[in-house]
């Protein structure tokens, strides 16, 4: 999905313009005072009531414009228009945006959870296309692709046939994997960190992932900024299932490829400006680098994933 940068800026500007007047009205400058009697002097007041308990449910929605690039060949980027945040936290059990967890321990040093989740690599495979490639016999007998061949009659993108035997070039299908594992969450004045280890329990890729990330949030008045660093080791099995090409999938258009495990890394930045208790403007950006063996796969066109979003978020 390609939208010119100007349109993206206009969309964000319009959203800001829509929201800003509502904010401004709540803080309209007042007229100067004409009378101010010297009656009781103002005093600093410290309420003594206990803090309100946090609700079990968290429900939010973000509306705006963003994109996540798709590193696969013949794929579309993933537009981000709406983002839902649904979570529930019980005493031990919790549901956090399709992660289902059980708190094993919680102490001043860390919190440990057992978590079941859906692997996130699969999301890229839902936005792929097919291209048809014609081949010619080169000197020496090799078949060499002719770029830009149209699809054969009766196939998608129907058009006139310029060659006899166009071959489909298609990213292979991949399934979602259910993974289970442990996570340790740390937090303090120094920031938040997590360690996670997950293994496939759905016999989909039969691999594992170990990851660590760190983030620190600065809050100044209504503005909040949170940079993040993360590393993730993805095993041979996991990497090869999603990013490799097995012999059954290989053909004239796609060579077999075995992806090895490796370490992905990412950096991100999230910023928020709180308009009210429940509404904020949010801008986030993220860069994820795929490890070399994945980046070299014939079904991978880019060695990185870039994500960004700008919009308004409501927390109910």
């Amino acid at each position: 999905m390609t939208i010119p940068r100007l349109q993206q800026l206009l969309a964000v500007s319009a959203l800001w313009a829509l929201l800003h007047p509502a904010y401004a009205q709540t803080e309209t400058p007042a007229t100067p005072a004409t009378t101010d009697a010297a009656l009781p002097a103002p005093a600093t007041v410290k309420p003594t009531r206990p803090l309100p308990a946090e609700r079990n449910w968290r429900f939010g929605i973000g509306l705006g414009y963003g994109m996540r690039t798709n590193p696969l060949v013949l794929s579309d980027d993933i537009p981000i228009i709406v983002d839902l945040d649904i979570a529930w936290f019980g005493k031990r059990w919790f549901f956090d945006n399709f992660d289902l967890g059980f708190q094993l321990t919680d102490n001043p040093l860390f919190t440990a959870n057992a978590v079941a989740r859906v692997n996130s690599d699969r999301v890229f495979f839902g936005k792929t296309n097919i291209r048809y490639v014609n081949f010619t016999i080169a000197a020496g007998g090799d078949r060499v692709p002719i770029a830009g061949a149209p699809p054969p009659p009766g196939r998608p993108d129907n058009g006139p046939s310029l060659a006899d035997d166009p071959q489909p070039l298609e990213v292979p299908d991949r399934d979602y994997a259910i993974e289970m594992g442990l996570e340790m969450l740390f937090g303090g004045e120094w920031g938040q960190a997590s360690l996670r280890g997950f293994h496939d329990v759905s016999q989909t890729h039969e691999g594992f992932e170990i990851s660590a990330d760190y983030s620190y949030r600065w809050t100044l008045g209504r503005f909040s900024m949170s940079p993040t660093l993360g590393l993730a080791y993805k095993s041979d099995d996991l990497s090869n299932y999603y990013w490799g090409v097995n012999p059954q999938e290989a053909g004239l258009t796609l060579q077999p490829y075995e992806a090895k495990g490796g370490v992905d890394w990412e950096v991100g930045l999230r910023t928020s400006y709180y308009l009210t208790k429940s509404v904020r403007l949010a801008i986030s950006a993220d860069y994820e680098r795929l490890h070399d063996s994945v980046a070299s796969s014939p079904i991978v066109a880019e060695d990185h994933v870039i994500g960004y979003f700008a919009g308004a978020a409501w927390q109910f």
Binding site: P29, E54, T228, R270, T276, K277
Partner: protein
């Protein structure tokens, strides 16, 4: 018929007079209206800029929901202002009312937003970049 019309006119005039005797509209403006609290802090120290303006002169007192006595009273004024330091840890209301009255002429709610949590599970980082909330 003439008597009825006269009575109707008198009633309408009396009703209008009674309506005119109601407290005049008062506008109360407070800045800031939002306190964002992040760990390790559990409250904000805020210097509130409080201003009010009335269409007609009146005697008003500024009240804080968490304090029994008025913060300040203004004798028969069209407007007033106050710089009020306060530590804020939960939502509360400022309101203006006549000294002896219970009816509020104007009120403004100050809100507290906590962006951190003692429950580390609520600080779990989302794994997808489009989770911006």
């Amino acid at each position: 018929m003439r008597t009825w019309l006269t009575l109707l006119a008198v009633t309408w005039f009396a009703a209008r007079t009674a309506a005119g005797a109601e407290p005049p509209p008062v506008r109360l403006v407070v800045k800031p209206l939002l306190c964002v609290v992040d760990k390790p802090a559990d409250s904000c120290n805020v210097l509130f800029d409080i201003r009010w303006k009335s269409v007609l002169p009146g005697e008003y007192c500024l009240n804080d929901e968490t304090v029994a006595a008025p913060l300040r009273c203004w004798p028969r004024a069209l407007s007033g202002e106050l710089q009020h330091p306060r530590e804020v840890s939960e939502d509360f209301i400022f309101w203006l009312a006549p000294p002896a009255g219970t009816e509020r002429a104007a009120e403004v709610k100050v809100e507290v937003l906590r962006v951190g949590s003692d429950d580390r599970r609520r600080e779990r980082r989302s794994r997808h970049v489009w989770d911006v909330l």
